[in-house]
Symmetry: C2
DNA sequence: CAGGCATGCCTG
DNA sequence: CAGGCATGCCTG
């Protein structure tokens, strides 16, 4: 018999903090790696080109069935199943030659204590993608695009994907790009139930200078419509800017209730969009910087 | 800009059947790998040495708190959290010099349609174990031991761990070995909610001949006591040896009730395996291409 | 697709 | 540790 002797046993062998990725687990707090993974700015900022983004909500599909994603305009939050092509629509003004600009998209953790960690794909879905003989180029990317032209970036572990701006199609006021998410928010060893933002930056190709920045919270889950409704319910008739009163955990943007509200009158759709965008942006920002206003730190429910 | 052109997009890129491991997913039905993963016998058989196994249930711990595992003798089912050292107790008679025998332990899928797949550790916990600088020897093993002497085997992907028999301690009638499980039954990309058995074989060191065989069903979960109670409740006042009769899903393996079923007669074990492989493969294929086909074997609750 | 369960994990 | 929620997924 060729046994191994051991007085220690293997008890301690892999006690792991399941709050985080196996990788994150072993990055010393102030190591160079941690520095690499510094947090990108996420404040919304239309900039001189009035850069905006929203999710296009397809009305009923042919078969009358709901699309596998749902968007809450009030909360600025997308709910989608994974591997679903979701149409994002960008708007911008006065860009001159659009070809000098591009849009970078990347997932970012929403909560302050995770925002400095790059959003990594979970080991299971990486494996699955690798096995499925497809190009292994994007395997590590949680946020991918189905756009015709694209470029995947991996700055350290901070993955992003870039698409070029194009001249708008005639008679359109937006530029549509399909993105899909390749992990669930719940993926163990990946996002691990942490909330994320999709961060979009309008950048100058040559210099990389950021000319505008927008975000949309994303929840990648199996029942987008259920979860959207659940969030709305949870938020009850929450007052504007009020904190969600979850008994457990969770954030989400409180939709406005209709009585006793301060309102801003707008003139048309476009204006409505712009205004709500700003409002929602502010709401989110507040929730982020003000602990009172929402979530607590680590994982938790979303 | 260094964009890539693609008319295809990445939509199909990693559509994956989440029913199974990424690895299992891409094993051609009749590949050598699939053959390697043939199913071990699991029928209980005390043999000439009256080989038996049970789980020792420690009474209340010092602090009066429950141990992180629970054992249902009636169901022959262990409920345990992962990474918990569970005391298994073996009994046997008339072995002569015990040093000529050893006990092999391995996890095996309980359900017929998975039994031929080796139980693999999930990618997340493999990663976690690798990162935690510990010996990488056991990283792939779901079933590990804390016994002083041990030997890890990887026959293809069929992992097992062997401990030598020893002379019984004076005044004892059992041989206690601590085992621990390093993945949850729910681990995605691993057991993936499939039920497992811990299979113990009493073997002759020299020849490898099996002299006895016992099994205990194991559920590795976060709330062993809750889940044990839930099973008992589900079973009503369950008969001995009965397994949980869930209203939802769970076992599958239709016991040979040959009434009104189309059956394919086969001649032997090997043929049985080959045929079920093909059938299951077809079921999976149909579910993939035809969402209607919700039914069929795979995971299920336990 | 709605209803509902199983189960990891968060809250007291 | 008990209570209970969130969420993937199974059943009609
Ligand atoms: Zn994933
Ligand atoms: Zn695992």
């Amino acid at each position: 018999m060729d046994m191994i002797r051991s007085d220690v046993g293997s008890g301690v062998m892999d006690a792991v903090n399941d709050d985080v990725t196996a990788v994150e687990q072993f990055i010393p707090v102030r190591s160079p790696v941690a520095r690499l993974g510094s947090a990108p700015a996420v404040n919304r900022w239309p900039g001189v080109h009035a850069f905006q983004v929203t999710v296009y909500q397809r009305l009923g599909t042919p078969a009358g069935r709901q699309p596998p994603y749902a968007y809450s305009r009030a909360a600025g939050k997308l709910y989608t199943d994974m591997l679903v092509a979701v149409p994002f629509r960008f708007s911008y003004t006065a860009v001159g030659d659009p070809r000098r600009l591009e849009i970078r998209a990347q997932p970012v953790y929403l909560d302050a204590q995770h925002v400095q960690n790059p959003v990594r794909r979970c080991p299971h879905h990486q494996d699955a993608a690798l096995m499925s003989n497809v190009q292994s180029q994007h395997v590590r990317h949680v946020l991918q695009t189905q756009h015709a032209r694209f470029r995947y970036d991996e700055n350290g572990d901070r993955c992003s994907v870039v698409v070029p701006l194009e001249p708008l199609q005639p008679a359109t006021d937006h530029y549509e790009v399909l993105y899909e998410f390749t992990c669930m928010n719940t993926c163990v060893g990946g996002m691990n139930r942490r909330r994320i933002l999709a961060l979009f930056t309008l950048e100058e190709c040559e210099t990389g200078q950021v000319l505008g920045r927008q975000t949309i919270e994303v929840k990648v889950c199996k029942c987008p419509h259920r979860d959207l409704k659940a969030d709305e319910k949870r938020l009850g008739l929450g007052r504007i800017g009020d904190k969600p009163d979850r008994k457990r955990r969770l954030t989400s943007s409180p939709p406005a209730s209709c009585e006793q509200r301060l309102v801003v009158e707008v003139d048309d759709e476009e204006m409505f969009r712009a205004v709500t965008e700003v409002r929602d942006s502010m709401r989110r920002y507040r929730r982020r910087v003000n602990p009172q206003h929402g979530q607590a730190p680590p994982p938790g429910r979303q």
